[in-house]
């Protein structure tokens, strides 16, 4: 490790102003550290400098540089704009997109130090995480997403021209309402291939056009034989049960036209692309924050930035990783930056300088003298839930002074049942990991049956437990959307996953357009 003397290095910049040569010099210095000291493996980078107004645009579309037109983006934009103009919200210093090349947006208002920090944070921290984490590797295809968005935007614009904006909006609204149920959660996703997508879309249309024969319409329909449709066979044919409602609709909804199926597919694939993000948010931010802190302090140690710049970097990092207490208002959830950064720092400490307790808790890596390698393995192989389960140490639990509340609704009080002591660590760790479990935030809903020969009513089941029912008003609205796409009645049962008893029933019928 280099000593604290500033010898050898020359300053990358002085003061707060930046220009493009400075950006490039910083990038090169940061890249050297990331490559030689941290061994990060990143997608090629692209830095884009934008204004705060453009940042608001970027926010509106989940950070995507281009997206099809829909009012919900406008709503998001207006919400952010209002909050920003009234001073309720600061803008992020950067937004980074999981694509190849990896695009990082830098705001022009940032100081030179902030630009360096943001480059280290986004272009190296997040970028490494995107490229190496298992979830992103399995579920998203960074190379194809930008092209796919371009295709989606163009396709939806053409649909609007051909079929009218309101018809397209109807399908999009419905598909958006169902997008959390538009994900294949098991078995990974097939990678996107833009050319194949376009070809498939074209072929579907061509086939329909060529196979159309008006004569079929004139055939007298044979009375259906009285044989009752075999339920087991029918469900096997339709691939039921199916948790991906959008996929099921795209393939099986009887009344949809081909362009409507294609729009549903677009929403589904984009939802699939975003699916990993909430599951690794804490790790992703922790990784990026740890990387930028490490890089900034190395830049300072080697004399590439001066004390003032380093203090600015520390100041801004400290703001980001602030964890308000449970009683400070603003919700009681954990700040992903704070928890993530604390855990990353703690892992590095355990590797380098473990205590007796750490050796007991983490026999497989305590004192292995390879903090960076250990972190890289963690970043690659875990998601938030399993990461906490594996790596949350007593030291971090003590640092955050975590405690557990037991909430039973018919009791008039809340019980503190675990605190940060020897008896409590494991219980707290288990409960915290559970709160990051995706099954906690995605409802488990499946299509279970549909009688295509009969009333065509689509039957869905939500497996849950008492007290954890769907938001009723929303469920009603979403079901109406679903019925609109399906074209016939829809029935959703909420079942107790243990006893199988029905807790609630929702039904909806398609509304005449």
């Amino acid at each position: 490790m280099a000593s604290m003397t500033a010898g050898g290095g020359d300053l990358l910049y002085r003061g707060a102003d930046w220009d493009f040569p400075i950006l490039r010099r910083c990038y090169d210095a940061i890249e050297r550290i990331s490559e030689h000291e941290l061994g990060l493996d990143v997608h090629p980078n692209r830095l884009e400098v934008i204004t705060s107004e453009q940042m608001l645009d970027v926010y509106a579309a989940h950070g995507m540089p281009l997206i099809y037109r829909h009012w919900s983006w406008g709503k998001r934009f207006m919400g952010h704009e209002n909050a920003y103009r009234r001073g309720l919200m600061g803008l992020a210093y950067e937004v980074v997109i999981n694509s190849d090349p990896c695009i990082s947006y830098l705001m022009e208002e940032n100081s030179a130090t902030m630009q360096a920090l943001v480059t280290a944070h986004a272009a190296f921290g997040h970028n490494h995480f995107f490229k190496n984490n298992r979830l992103f590797r399995d579920w998203t295809d960074a190379g194809a997403i930008l092209d796919y968005l371009e295709f989606a935007r163009g396709f939806i614009a053409r649909c609007e021209e051909r079929h009218g904006a309101s018809a397209v909006e109807r399908v999009l609204d419905a598909a958006h309402a169902l997008q959390n149920q538009g994900i294949h959660r098991h078995g990974g996703s097939r990678l996107l291939d833009l050319r194949a997508e376009q070809k498939r879309e074209r072929e579907r249309r061509e086939h329909e056009e060529s196979a159309y024969n008006d004569l079929w319409r004139t055939l007298p329909t044979k009375p259906v034989a009285g044989r009752p449709d075999d339920a087991g066979e029918r469900r096997r044919r339709l691939g039921l049960p199916e948790e991906n409602l959008l996929y099921f609709l795209e393939k099986n909804a009887p009344k949809l036209r081909s362009w409507e199926r294609e729009i549903i597919r677009i929403v589904r694939l984009i939802a699939q692309y975003f699916y990993p993000q909430p599951q690794v948010k804490m790790m992703n931010e922790g990784c990026a924050t740890w990387v930028h802190t490490h890089i900034m302090s190395r830049l300072h140690e080697t004399g590439r930035i001066d004390d003032a710049a380093y203090l600015e970097a520390i100041h801004s990092t400290t703001n980001v990783i602030n964890q308000p207490g449970f009683d400070a208002g603003g919700g009681a959830s954990f700040n992903p930056y704070a928890l993530g950064y604390a855990m990353m720092t703690d892992i590095a400490r355990v590797c380098a300088d473990p205590t007796e307790e750490d050796r007991r808790w983490f026999p497989d890596f305590a004192g292995n003298r390879d903090p960076v390698g250990t972190l890289r393995r963690a970043w690659a192989e875990y998601r938030d839930e399993s990461f906490i389960q594996q790596f949350l140490s007593p030291a971090v639990i003590r640092q955050f002074r975590m405690f557990r509340l037991h909430d039973v609704t018919d009791r008039p009080y809340l019980l503190v049942d675990e605190i940060h002591d020897d008896d409590g660590y494991r219980a707290i760790r288990r409960s915290l990991a559970r709160s990051y479990d995706p099954s906690e935030f995605y409802a488990d809903i499946e299509v279970v049956d549909v009688d295509l020969a009969g009333d065509r009513c689509l039957r869905l089941e939500h497996r849950t437990r008492p007290g954890h029912l769907l938001h009723e008003k929303d469920a009603k609205t979403v079901l109406r959307h679903l019925a609109g796409l399906w074209g016939y009645d829809v029935k959703l049962l909420e079942l107790d996953h243990e006893s199988g008893s029905v807790l609630a029933t929702h039904v909806a019928s398609p509304q005449p357009a």
Binding site: R46, P101, I419
Partner: protein, 441 residues
Amino acid sequence: MDIIDRRQNPHGKSLENRQRVLVRARGAVQKAARDAVAAGRLREVGQGGAVSIPSDVLHEPSLHVVFTGGERHLILSGNKSFSRGDRLQRPPGRGGSGGQGAEAGQGGGGQDEFRFVLSREEFLDLFFDDLELPDLVKRDISTTEQDVPSRAGLSSDGAPSQLDMSRTMRLSMARRIGLRRPKASEIEENQRRLDGLLARLESLPEGSPAWEMATAEVASLRELLQQQQRRLGRIAWIDPVDLRYRRFNAVRRPSTRAVMFCLMDVSGSMTERMKDLAKQFFLLLHVFLERRYKHVELVFIRHADAAEVVDEQAFFHDPRSGGTIVSSALLELLRVQNERFPADGWNIYVAQASDGDNAASDTPVSRALLQDRILPLVQHFAYIEIASSGAVIRGETDLWRGYRQVAEADPRLAMRQVSDKRDIFPVFRELFGRRPEAVAT
């Protein structure tokens, strides 16, 4: 690695999507804008501004689980003094704890209002969406027309200021070429040749063949020159037949100018609050007219027992007192209109606000003035009677009774009573709301 400067890229990528939000939430935004005006929260009508609509209009539903009962564990940070087994008071509000209401955490909203900042144009569009000027405008269109000159080719006579120079010169050149008017340079050239010949002639011996040839040449040149000079004198550079003038036809176009007379009773019985109500109405009418006419003039006439034309500031804020003679204001109106706003060039609108008091002997006079002299001139006359707050319902005032007879006969006079800020907008909408043709009397 690439660094791209995107700051010059077009901004406002979200504008189109923003428009879509407005279209989607139109009904709600419209209601919110009107409520805001009615409640007097928008300082100036027509400035645009922020309005809030209930967020469920733009709600994006999703299937999500909410915790309503049963049992759960929560991990929180920042323990200061709790030990295992402590019992905590439930925080007030819903059954959740520690502020981690499942609704706020998952609904994505947390807000129950959604704020719109509207531009002036958007605001007015929404605001006056289903209003229109009374049908009278169409019926009386001939009186609101004015002559607008419009180019209509060329003519051979006209005012010198309308002379079309290039056309005239083109014709003149054609005539000069056609009539072979000699150019000045040709004459000069011949003159120079003549001078040279004469000089040479002097050096030649008289009677020699060369001398004779030169003499003959001089004679023919002289003749040519004389001929050219004659032509030059006869054929004018610009002849009256060349002259072309731009011609204008008068085309009748509906006038896009309007004048709005604001008449207000400022006698002692009108309180500040009543004036404020009147102001609201005048403002609305002004903004409304401004959207229809390119140019709207305002004339403020206040009256007690005598009327005068004042500026806006004095109109609304100067206290006056005294008795009330309404006809004085009507006469003043006629005088100003006569001097500055001829009825064939201006759309004339009148809005009168009063508490209905008038000297008993004056009401018939006012009525006659209104019926015989004012109404034939105007597009629309709105009379707003402001009831004093808390007053026992007095029934009809003198003025109201007098005007009502006129209103029954002439739909150009509309009259309404207002007693509260809330009434202003509904009354305005009643007066200008689109209505089926058949209803008009």
